[in-house]
């Protein structure tokens, strides 16, 4: 197999700074994700000077577009959604490298046309044949797309230049079986080291900084275990209702949409053992080990450990909003959950007996995602002798969004001659500490794919391990069947049942 000698001008530089010249083919290039996130993200990377000079983007979709109209779509997306405003001159240069191929995902002729177009475009753009295929398409057509890529000769073997890589957008399957099928389909054509399963949560600045906080500071890690931690709460609260996603959401629900992927990935980063290196597979091995240690919740345990609910009508920021069952395209008797709260345990030496409370929901009072590590109480002596009003415990909070940052709640003495103790929060906010804006999650992740760094992407075994765990809950729900779910008013923090779930342990959900 031909291998190019390494480039002495880049040897020793950080891989993250060295995205390789490549073509990015976006399947579903005319869709919402492309318009809102991918094209604006690429434009921002170009403006920041981190996109390679030798670069091409090819949109592929059934939509009736050509190069010019695809460029117009990109322009509109950048104008509306980019973190940097559109600079006409810069956009003109960006747009020169945007192309479009129209075709159906199952149409062999369309893939032949795509191959021909890439062969024409790449020499002019200075791309040495490196290709990234971004599957921003429904899971139902991913299999056929992957097969057609192979049939058209668009996929190159692994471990030899030029590279072929594939990005698989979530949802990765609807359940364990379909996830396995999809993974197997992709694996027929692509080696695992060519596959980048994207979970944009892992691209968020604070999620990445969690590893830095844990392993670049000496004060946290010694406390990060069952000896000192009372419990952990992970919350992902959304303000929006189901909006225009009802067709997808009706089939998914909060457990599939949020818990099985985003929240479990955040849980893994929170609970994983220190990796012995930062190489992608070492970090991913340790994340998978957390999933393997998650105690299954199945059968009757599901009722005790998991609460699901649906939002009812209510008021959101003073405006009356409909309940889930009254949303457009939602069945009036739908039993799809829009809220999940659960308690789980990781059965390993570090976390034995420490409950992890996870919750997510739509139509919450505000958008807020965080990880809160609550430490054990101080002994009931000295300042903590009043059993009726014990001191508040220390809580370390990692805010993922908004107001990305960290805070630590500690007890302090109020000024004055008496000893009066009051909890205060030491707060660090990215937005008021650093002058520079963080890049969007998709920007970071696209750059990582170009550089071939899979650390922040989900490996096949981890996806299947998280589905294996989620299936215990999903199957119990299916077996039980229900015609009604607990309700919570839109604009509230969830149902009473969730309060009872955590209240039974003498704890309470954090007020966000």
């Amino acid at each position: 197999m031909p291998t190019a000698s390494p480039n002495p001008l880049t040897v020793g530089l950080s891989k993250a700074l060295l995205p390789e010249p490549c073509s990015l083919v976006i399947f579903g290039g005319a869709g919402d994700l492309s318009r809102r996130k991918l094209l604006p993200g690429l434009y921002n990377l170009m403006r920041d000077g981190v996109l390679p000079a030798n670069f091409a983007v090819v949109g592929f979709a059934r939509t009736d577009l050509d190069d010019e109209r695809f460029r117009a779509l990109a322009r509109e997306g950048i104008e509306k959604y980019s973190r940097r405003s559109l600079d006409p001159d810069a956009f003109e240069h960006f747009a020169r490298n945007l192309f479009f191929v129209r075709g159906g995902f199952a149409d062999p002729a369309a893939y032949a046309a795509l191959a021909k177009r890439l062969d024409e475009i790449e020499p002019g753009c200075g791309v040495p044949g490196n290709r990234i295929f971004y599957l921003s398409i429904p899971p139902s057509v991913m299999g056929v797309c992957v097969d057609q890529l192979q049939t058209a000769g668009l996929v190159r073997p692994p471990d030899a230049p030029p590279f072929s890589r594939i990005i698989v957008e979530k949802p990765i399957g609807h359940d364990l079986e379909s996830a396995r099928q999809l993974n197997a389909t992709v694996a027929r054509v692509f080696d695992e080291n060519q596959v980048f399963r994207i979970d944009h949560y892992l691209g968020k600045e604070t999620v990445q900084s969690l590893l830095v906080m844990r392993f670049a500071n000496s004060i946290f890690e010694p406390l990060w275990n069952q000896k000192y931690v009372d419990h952990v709460q992970i919350t992902v609260a959304e303000e929006e209702g189901v909006g225009t996603r009802a067709n997808y959401y009706e089939e998914a629900g909060a457990l599939r949409d949020m818990v099985q992927n985003h929240i479990l990935q955040v849980l893994c980063l929170t609970a994983m053992e220190p990796p012995w290196s930062l190489s992608p597979d070492v970090v991913r091995d340790n994340r998978r080990a957390v999933l393997q240690g998650l105690r299954p919740i199945a059968g009757k345990d599901v009722e005790q450990h998991v609460v699901r609910a649906q939002y009812a009508s209510g008021f959101h920021h003073g405006v009356e909003v409909p309940g889930y069952r009254n949303e457009p395209n939602v069945k009036p008797d739908s039993t799809t959950e829009t809220y999940v709260a659960l308690k789980c345990f990781i059965d390993n030496w570090r976390w034995a007996g420490v409950p992890f409370y996870l919750r997510t929901g739509k139509r919450m009072p505000k958008r807020a995602s965080e990880i809160a590590v609550q430490f054990k109480e101080v002994p009931p002596i000295l300042f903590n002798t009043d059993l009726h009003s014990p001191l508040e415990p220390n809580v370390l909070t990692v805010r993922i969004q908004p107001d990305e940052g960290l805070s630590l709640k500690i007890a302090t003495k109020l000024p004055g001659p008496k000893v009066r103790i009051y909890p205060v929060k030491m707060d660090f906010r990215y937005g008021t500490t650093f002058g520079e804006q963080s890049p969007e999650a998709y920007e970071r992740l696209l750059l990582d794919v170009m550089a071939g760094d899979a650390t922040l992407f989900m490996r096949r075994d981890a996806v299947e391990a998280s589905w294996t765990w989620a299936m215990g809950i999903l199957e119990a729900w299916q077996e039980r069947g229900t015609r009604w779910l607990p309700q919570y008013p839109a604009g509230s923090w969830g149902p009473l049942e969730a309060e009872k779930l955590i209240g039974a342990d003498g704890r309470k959900w954090r007020a966000l």
Binding site: A4, S5, P6, N7, P8, L9, T10, V11, G12, L13, P21, M46, R47, D48, G49, L51, P52, A53, N54, D89, A90, H93, G124, C125, G126, P128, P161, P162, D403, R429, G431, T432, T433, F434, G435, E436, Q437
Partner: protein
Amino acid sequence: MSESITSPKPVDIDAIERELAELWSEPLGGAAAGAEGMEPATRACMSNLLIWCKTQEQARGLPIEIGAIVEKHPSRVLLLVGEPEYENAGLSASVSAVCHPASAGGQICSEHVTLSAPGSSVQRLPSIARPLLIGDLPTTLWWAASEPPPAAGGLFDDLALMADHVIYDSAGWLDPVHGVLSVAAWEMGLETRRVVSDLAWRRGKPWRRLIGETLDPKIAPAALESIEEVEIEHGPHALPQAWFLIGWLAGRLGWQPTAGKVAPGVEVTFGFESARSPLRASVRRLASGEAELSRVVIRWNGKAGKGQATFAWDGQDRLVVLAGSSSASARVLSARRESRASLVARQMGKLFHDSLFRDTLSLSRRMAEALVR
């Protein structure tokens, strides 16, 4: 950017810390935050920034640059200004706050202290600055004077001892050859851990990136090992940047400097020996233009024949490369020409040794030695 700066308040040298505290008392900072309609202010501080200017003239435009720096890297700024023309005046000090809107709402404010020292009293500045540094924070010394730092002797040594990071700009040095020699000797002789950054090296980053990408063996097979000639044109004051670019290529590609020749104010040429053959690098100064590289031409003669790549600015924020002589194959790297303030702010966030710069400085020193031989 909608920056607000409080009027500098003249203060006694002994009262600086107290006056800084006063800035943050209620109502917070007067014009910094207490003015009607202003957002609440938060004092933010990631570093101490010590700035040295040899004259008031050099310091004149600095308040604007300081505003741009602390917007990206909030810091306590101590601006130290020499005043050689006022031998009899006493030391003077003023304090102010520089505020910017924060992305999370409100304002982020940094403290700014100016210390002016006439004549020989500049030697007292380090002892005044030392207690004003906030403990447990990194300290950067930005040498904003237009002479190589080691040329200032004891003053530089005293200030550098307080700093974790020394930033200077070799662009504009009157005698770059001896400047490179003195800085390299100082940098190589450092015993304590200190990060050293030259803004002229930082300005070359997009050039290095585009050259590295264009001549990558996957894109231009065998080009790197068969380079025969490098030609650089630059505007006034940018010789060190050109020098470093050649030093970088030489270091990465294993070229050994063999000769150097200066045609004062016009051209510098270097001869190198590579594994394959001798090669030549020339640096030509343009009569006018920005203090930047203007054009770089690299020629090679590989197995596939002769090749050439020409790199040049296209407007304010794009570097282009033309392969061969055809403009049809132009490729573009988005790369803003950053202001000095922006470069300083970026460098302040990099608290690690740049071994590539150190290697290049070492090779540049050998190139300088070839010139003075």
